[in-house]
């Protein structure tokens, strides 16, 4: 559907994108996730045609887009601050692109009504843009783009300006809308939770490069390196060295001791071991399972409502290890547990092996 090949973009001496290649399928909900300055918005603007590529090609449905101006691309966009036309009312904003398509007036009117229904703002047609709340403006921007039935919808941080509650509600609506319409959505966001919730696949970007493209679960469970792992959720990192071979292959991990490991790495390789806080188990006595266990002491407790992060100090390691547990009402054994000695244990699949930095 959209094929991005070796795309680079420079603004003067600043290189905003470096050799980016991506394939985005029809009907996919695809996210570009990255901090500000990672190049995600630049990539979106290249796809929309507001900027030209410095090198590489962008093709939509097999047609290369270098020489196609934005108004001729089969793409519509929801802008970061919505860019609702301030001199037009809601109806004229939504109908903005219709006259160009040669659609008769009555039909235009009917379609706008349909859209107002879809975005749950019926009867708002005569309002002016500045009479709308942020969430309503966001819906109008969405309707204005969707009414043209684009093959691809680009969304530039569409929920960034909304408060948390509204944002979560709009996330569900966006996802439902995309499912129903079957349009390809490309979302730019710096909010990892948003990217994981909404997307079929996510491209993590940093410093103008795509670091990893994967499904949300893939990113979470198999992050390629420390950057991705740290960007998507919380992660414990351990420096380690691979020892032994075959069945005795193991990782020597500072603070945790030797750990048997199934990996294609060879003896002597330095690696980074990553463990999610929720993959670790805490107990007050040494677990009598064959699983490895390490003694430690609870240093701090971070209550998050419903769940909590316990920071456990372990001998031989400067930073405490983060462990996530549920904090159910009335049955939370870790309340007031700071300073208590504990045992830390984990299952066989808990450790991910990453490249060292």
């Amino acid at each position: 559907m959209i094929s991005i090949r070796n795309v680079s973009k420079s603004f003067g001496r600043f290189q905003a994108l470096r050799d980016v290649s991506l394939d985005i399928g029809a009907g996919e909900f695809f996210s570009l996730l990255g901090a500000s300055g990672s190049g995600k918005t630049t990539l979106l603007r290249l796809i929309a045609g507001f900027e030209g590529v410095s090198a590489g090609t962008i093709a939509i449905d097999g047609h290369e887009m270098q020489d196609v101006p934005p108004h001729l691309r089969p793409i519509n966009m929801v802008f970061q601050n919505y860019a609702i036309f301030p001199h037009l009312n809601v109806r004229d904003n939504i109908a903005y692109g219709l006259p160009r398509l040669g659609i008769p007036r009555a039909e235009q009117h009917r379609r706008v009504d349909e859209m107002l229904e879809l975005i749950a703002l019926p009867g708002y047609g005569d309002r002016r843009a500045n009479q709308l709340s942020g969430g309503q403006q966001q819906r109008v921007a969405l309707a204005r783009a969707l009414i043209l039935k684009p093959r691809v919808l680009l969304l530039d941080e569409p929920l960034g300006a909304l408060d948390k509650q509204l944002r979560e509600q709009m996330q569900l609506e966006l996802r439902g809308l995309q499912r129903r319409l079957g349009i390809t959505f490309i979302l730019v966001t710096h909010d990892q939770e948003e990217a994981l919730t909404l997307s079929d696949r996510v491209a993590v970007m940093a410093n103008g490069e795509v670091i990893q493209v994967d499904t949300p679960a893939g990113l979470y469970d198999q992050p390629r390196n420390r950057k991705v792992a740290a960007f998507v959720g919380t992660m414990n990192f351990f420096d380690a060295t691979i020892r032994g071979e075959g069945a005795s292959l193991r990782a020597e991990i500072a603070g945790l001791g030797p750990q048997p490991l199934a990996t294609s790495r060879r003896a002597g390789e330095r690696v980074l071991i990553a463990v999610r806080p929720e993959s670790l188990t805490l107990s007050t006595t040494r677990p009598d399972s064959p699983q490895p266990a390490v003694a430690g002491r609870i240093e701090a407790r971070q209550y998050l409502g419903g769940r909590q992060i316990l920071h456990v100090a372990v001998a031989g390691r400067a930073e405490p290890v983060a462990v996530a547990t549920l904090a159910l009402r009335g049955e939370d054994p870790w309340q007031g547990s700071e300073g208590r000695p504990v045992w830390l244990s984990w299952g066989p699949g808990a450790l991910s092996v990453l490249d060292p930095d």
Partner: protein, 272 residues
């Protein structure tokens, strides 16, 4: 908090200074309307009596009416044309990165500070060499030189502050550049453009130097006033005329300043 509110406390010395400033600036100008209602011919205190006579007299003067319409014609032409030229110029300056832009823009603004006398002499010399007969057209030409930089300086800040995403949204929704200009850029910036029209109209209408050097047989209103200064008995009528021009110019400039602020995100209107 209270300690840092100093900037918003009333400041007596500053208020007094502002008052003195305004008085010094406007007292001489205020004398003009005052004497225009004086029944005596000579400008001196005490005032003799109150009369509308000088104003009524204006409408009896055929050459004055003609000069007035000349000025209106020139000002309409100049304001329309200079705004028409300045809009794309200001847009280009606001939009595009080009080498040597800053000095180029500074150079374009130069006529703002060039003495009118020098500019007038230069233009007269040029037109003479080219063998052009002086007329209202040459006056308009001179006014264009003065009005264009003004027009750009009125439009430029507004265009720089204009949210480009609106134009991108229009392009994204399928409108080519010219249609985008017509449907988005123009309607979103009409207050600034209207302000530009009013400002350049006023400038041209009141302008003296260019008209002095470049007008032929047909005088503009300021030229007419200049020519009548020789006749002391006509002086009160000129004061009446000047008062009307003052009122008219103030109204236009005030309107244009107000307009330039409408919808400007940098200067929100009160109550919003």
């Amino acid at each position: 908090m209270a300690r840092y509110a100093g900037f918003h406390r009333p400041n007596r010395p500053l208020a007094l200074y502002a008052a003195v400033f305004a008085v010094v600036l406007y007292l001489p100008i205020l004398l003009i309307p005052v004497f225009s209602f004086n029944s005596g011919v000579f400008v001196r205190f005490p005032l003799e009596g109150f009369t509308f006579g000088w104003y009524a007299d204006l409408f009896q003067r055929e050459p004055l009416i003609r000069a007035f319409w000349n000025s209106v014609k020139v000002a309409c032409f100049v304001s329309l044309l200079s705004t028409l030229i300045a809009v794309p110029a200001a847009l280009a300056i606001a939009r595009y990165r080009m080498p040597g832009k800053a000095p180029a823009v500074a150079f374009m603004m130069l006529p703002l500070v060039l003495p009118g006398l020098i500019l007038g002499v230069a233009l007269l010399t040029l037109l003479n060499r080219m063998g052009v007969t002086l007329s209202l057209v040459t006056v308009a030409l001179g006014h264009m030189v003065i009005c264009l930089p003004y027009a750009i300086s009125v439009l430029l800040p507004r265009f720089i502050g204009f949210n480009r995403a609106l134009e991108e949204a229009s392009a994204d929704l399928g409108e080519p550049p010219l249609r985008t200009f017509w449907r988005v850029t123009l309607p979103c910036n009409y207050p600034a453009i209207l302000a530009c029209l009013l400002m350049t109209f006023t400038l041209s209408f009141d302008e003296f130097f260019m008209a002095f050097f470049l007008s032929g047989a047909e005088p503009t209103l300021p030229m007419y006033i200049w020519s009548q200064l020789r006749f002391p008995r006509d002086f009160p009528s000129l004061l009446a005329l000047s008062s009307l021009i003052l009122l008219f110019s103030f109204a236009l400039i005030f309107a244009s300043l107000r307009l330039a602020r409408i919808g400007d995100p940098a200067q929100p209107e009160s109550g919003r």
